[in-house]
Symmetry: C2
Amino acid sequence: MIVGLDPYFKSIPDIIKQKFSTLKKQSFEYEARVILEFNIQVIDLIAPHVSIVKPQIAFYELYGWWGVWAYAETIKYAKQKGLIVIGDVKRGDVPSTAEAYANAHIGEVCTDHVAEAPFGTDAITINPFLGTDSLLPFFQTAKKYHKGIFVLVKTSNPDSGEFQDLICEGKKLHEIIAERTYTWGKDVLGKHGYSAVGAVVGATFSHEITKLRKIMPTAYFLVPGYGAQGATAKDIACCFNPDGLGAIINASRSILYAYNLSPWKEKYGIDSWRDATREAVVKMNEEIRNILKTNHGYKE
Amino acid sequence: MIVGLDPYFKSIPDIIKQKFSTLKKQSFEYEARVILEFNIQVIDLIAPHVSIVKPQIAFYELYGWWGVWAYAETIKYAKQKGLIVIGDVKRGDVPSTAEAYANAHIGEVCTDHVAEAPFGTDAITINPFLGTDSLLPFFQTAKKYHKGIFVLVKTSNPDSGEFQDLICEGKKLHEIIAERTYTWGKDVLGKHGYSAVGAVVGATFSHEITKLRKIMPTAYFLVPGYGAQGATAKDIACCFNPDGLGAIINASRSILYAYNLSPWKEKYGIDSWRDATREAVVKMNEEIRNILKTNHGYKE
């Protein structure tokens, strides 16, 4: 499983905000420093239990360039702690622009001084709407720097079917994109048979997932929607291959703000938010392990 | 017409870079300050001739959070100079995340101190792939703050047809998105009959544009592809409504780096890049004016 680092400023405990209260009048520096401190404490709590985190960049852009600074520093800290970082950026643009995005997020930039990684995430999510030539710079950069890509195939929001489920030439659009994703990934297969090109597949549509699993057997599925978005552990069982591998299940708010949800709300409350978050991660790991035991004969 | 502020660091004249040479070893601060200074000089040059600029955020993210700082400062300076700023960000995500993007780019954030605009652009481009619920936060924010939205309908890259031209239920996907864009825009019609919800339509596909112009009569078309991407003034004639309004034609590299292109290359060279840029803007304005005269009976 992975934890989405989606900072909702209002949900961050006051005890963290108080540390930076003298900065309150600075333009977004205060919010950015609070978010970074919260993320650092969350990373310290969850690092023993998970191996991947996924910051969603929108929640950082919300605080302007200071927010993007917090995004960059969060990535740096998570990597120092040995975690893999997936940047949930959902970028997509015409080829020359896509190349800039690719180098920004999973590549390097070499101008007048040495080559350096602007954000240095290990993988990112991308939007396929513009077609193959707009995605090749991402795949090529991933290959060059040994990074990963997750193509949006079927998203978790209620209206995702409006365009993604349209029947085009006998197939649903998202099935056509899934076929392409499988093809794009053939060039970057790893030694365990999985590709560096994966797919974002919302856990909220279990019927579609079963079909997509067959279309893209070598793709890692990045699966949002568990927890706050309503999908249960049962829903996500079909994201895994028969070998019990191939899916990465994400939860964000249900872990970060567990103190605000039952049963931890009653047990802990905000002052013990750290205990709530720690227990929520452990519980989610257990749920996924049970699913794998039941459905895929997983043994510990 | 509008000028795309897409900084290609290597193409920025050395005379600007020399001002910041003492910063060379600082991580991306040097590149960011050079880019901002270049943009400021470009804005000063073009402000008498154009009313809109369009920074493409990918070329700023390429320099990490320092680059995003240069993006924010560029917007601020352009607005001080009375220009309208379209942020070419092509964002799109599930509803709660889309709301964060919307507030970041065209809205405001109110946390513990006063409400403030993180980036403050007047309009942005967005990607419709996730469906209506993922776009509503953008339309609602645009309505609240009197901002504009350009939905990607038919992009200018060679492979844009791969998904956008698929025949879905008897129509091309981009025509379906165009119909929806027209509908989404009905709620935010201005007093001159144009909507706050416009469309991105690549000038490289003139056949499609004629049809799209009919499907979306009230949408402003943001038209990339003029100049460096190969579309000519003739190609873009069909982007305008019969009244000669409704299209915004973008050029980026052909203006910013005119010193490197014929006929200015021979006439000026890099030391007189400012004269080349100024002349390129004036010439492009003339070309568009001539097209309007020929095709739409435009009179000065």
